[in-house]
């Protein structure tokens, strides 16, 4: 697999003190990579630097092995889809789509057939003569994606392109984008603050925080093995408890787990709500005793809050069959299938 986009030690500081530093990232050809993080984490700064809309203070950006960091946006082999205001309201959809091709001096007949084809790809055939204001928000974003696709960019950049759409439409657009990506084999860099979007869409996720990269991994690995406490907290739901490391063992209450990271002293133990098993009664040797504080029925499962006394309150997802055995105020014993430990500092 060849590397399509390579970011090397990218830094950019704003006057406000925010910015990014030490960003290094390799994106393979045909890969869809997501930059995920809260607002102000620097993900858009990285994306705009790739697109040429920001000049980084230091570092290099290579596309297909060639440094592009000195090029203006119009000279870069990238194309960007913005959050909104992508289209030009005084032009028809045809003119919006053909604008870039006309600049490239493509023959008219070729432009016509290319536009027709790309409109089919984004499921808006025959929209050529319409104006952007005659389309819905979702359709407008599809046209924006189509315009970028027409230019056959080496890297397609997407800056929260679906964040202004409603949840259902967002879901549809995600599926469509994935289809387009499989069909065209385009390399894509997608920026979002929506972790569901990132998990469902990406080949790999780059979790960012305060201007640096926390972790780069495939969606399942990000979820199963968050490398830092920040990622553990940010992705999905997670419970945190105090624990201790004793040699090659991690001890949480009466439970013991292997100390894979060779931590020492006090540690923070993270447990996913679905990795918690609840048994009525308190007699078991292992596990942590607690009482059920709240149960929220969510259809095929329930979210149960358990007061563990010194260990605080944890949330557990329980299958509906199990929920029938439980009731409010009941004493239970909680055991964990799997924990992830972080050094406590």
């Amino acid at each position: 697999m060849s590397i399509q986009l390579s970011i090397r030690d990218l830094s950019k500081r704003y006057k406000t003190g925010e910015g990014v530093s030490g960003i290094s990232l390799d994106v393979n050809k045909g890969e869809l990579i997501t930059l995920l993080g809260p607002s102000g984490c620097g993900k858009t700064t990285v994306l705009r630097s790739i697109g040429g809309f920001l000049e980084p203070d230091s570092g290099d950006i290579l596309i297909e092995g060639r440094s592009v960091v000195k090029l203006p946006p119009e000279k870069r082999p990238t194309s960007m889809v913005f959050q909104g205001y992508n289209l030009w309201p005084h032009m028809t959809i045809y003119d919006n789509l053909a604008f870039g091709l006309k600049i490239r001096k493509m023959p008219k007949a070729e432009i016509r057939s290319a536009v027709e084809e790309v409109l089919r790809l984004v499921r808006l055939p025959g929209a050529e003569k319409k104006y952007p204001s005659q389309l819905s928000g979702g359709q407008q974003q599809r046209i924006a994606v189509a315009r970028s696709l027409l230019l056959k960019p080496a890297v397609l950049l997407l800056d929260e392109p679906f964040s202004a759409l409603d949840a259902k439409l967002r879901h549809e657009m995600r599926e469509e984008l994935r289809e387009i990506q499989t069909e065209t084999g385009l390399t894509m860099v997608f920026v979002t603050h929506d972790q569901e979007e990132a998990l469902s869409l990406s080949d790999r996720i780059v979790v960012m925080n305060h201007g640096h990269i926390e972790q780069i991994a495939a969606p399942q690995d990000i979820y199963d093995a968050p490398e830092t406490l920040y990622v553990a907290e940010f992705i999905g739901k997670m419970n945190f408890l105090k624990g201790g490391a004793q040699g090659d063992k991690l001890v949480v209450g009466r439970m013991e787990f292997p100390n894979a990271k060779h931590l020492t002293g006090e540690v923070v133990v993270a447990v996913r709500p679905e990795d918690i098993i609840l048994e009525p009664g308190t007699s078991q040797a292992a596990g942590l005793p607690g009482t059920i504080k709240q149960m929220m029925i969510l259809g095929h499962y329930a979210e149960v809050s358990i007061d563990l006394g010194d260990h605080g309150i944890i949330r557990a997802f329980q299958p509906r069959d199990k929920v029938k055995e439980l009731q409010l105020g009941q004493s239970v014993n909680a055991t964990f299938n799997k924990v992830i430990a972080y050094s406590n500092n």
Binding site: P72, T78, S79, F99
Partner: protein, 274 residues
């Protein structure tokens, strides 16, 4: 009868009365003007002229000074419009796009020319023009006219440029357009309605300007509104009526044209100091 008024409600009745007042005050003078322009003999108390005639039209159109003043007025208006476009559009673009210190203060300062009594301003300008030798010159008259329109010519296009979102310019760069091409193909066409409105406003304002012209342009630059004064004092009312119709016609035509390009809210957004 009372049931009828009650059914339509007092609000409607008040609206109707206001409409009547509006018609009486706005339409009837214009109507009177139109009738007067075509009258040969018209004396009180008759509602319509005893005699219709086109003689004052012939008179006005044949009087040398009058036709010259019409030409001059349109020449000056065109010059003022062209010059203020050249001067104000780049400024408006800068106000809309570039953040520089005190930009709000600068933008607001355009109001200054409208904040004082005009005559005071013109007199001080005239003092300056005497020193610079600009009295009784075309350039002097054009400059005085421009002072009046700087505000609209900057504010309205600034708002129009602000309505062009930066993502719209950036996506044009992104698909391969140079900065100049982006301005020509994206930014300018999108801001054009606002610029057209401001230009029409400028043109009409210049056609109408009398005070400053009177002070700076006399005796050689006698525009339509200035000639109007002498016509009203030297000739019967009908000549003045004919002349004011000639003066009003371009206004109405241009305003109707402007209506096609922009809605009132574009106009009003020009006055927001964001």
């Amino acid at each position: 009868m009372r049931w009828y008024f009650r059914a339509i409600g007092t609000r409607k009745i008040i609206e109707f009365l206001l409409l009547i007042v509006f018609i009486v005050f706005f339409v009837s003078p214009l109507l009177n003007l139109a009738v007067l322009a075509f009258s040969g003999k018209w004396s009180y108390p008759d509602l319509l002229p005893q005699q219709w005639s086109l003689q004052w039209w012939k008179f006005v159109l044949h009087e040398d000074e009058i036709s010259k003043s019409i030409g001059l007025s349109f020449l000056i208006a065109a010059l003022v419009t062209a010059l203020s476009i050249v001067l104000c559009i780049p400024a408006a673009y800068a106000f809309a796009r570039i953040r520089f210190p005190l930009s709000k203060v600068f933008l607001f300062s355009f109001l200054l020319t409208h904040a004082f009594p005009k005559m005071g301003l013109y007199v001080s300008i005239a003092v300056l023009f005497y020193k610079l030798g600009l009295m009784n010159t075309l350039l002097g008259v054009v400059l005085v006219h421009m002072i009046n329109v700087l505000m609209f010519m900057t504010w309205i296009p600034t708002a129009a440029f602000r309505n062009v979102h930066s993502a719209q310019e950036e996506s044009a760069r992104d698909v391969g357009a140079s900065p100049f091409r982006v301005f020509r193909s994206i930014t300018l066409p999108m801001a054009l309605p606002g610029i057209i409105v401001a230009s029409i406003f400028t043109f009409l304002n210049s056609l109408d300007e009398a005070q400053g012209t009177f002070l700076v342009g006399i005796p050689d630059y006698r525009t339509m509104p200035i000639v109007m004064y002498s016509i009203i004092s030297d000739f019967p009312g009908s000549a003045g009526a004919v002349f004011s119709i000639i003066l009003t016609a371009p206004t109405i035509i241009l305003l109707l044209a402007a209506q096609r390009f922009v809605s009132a809210d574009v106009m009003s957004s020009g006055f927001q100091l964001k």
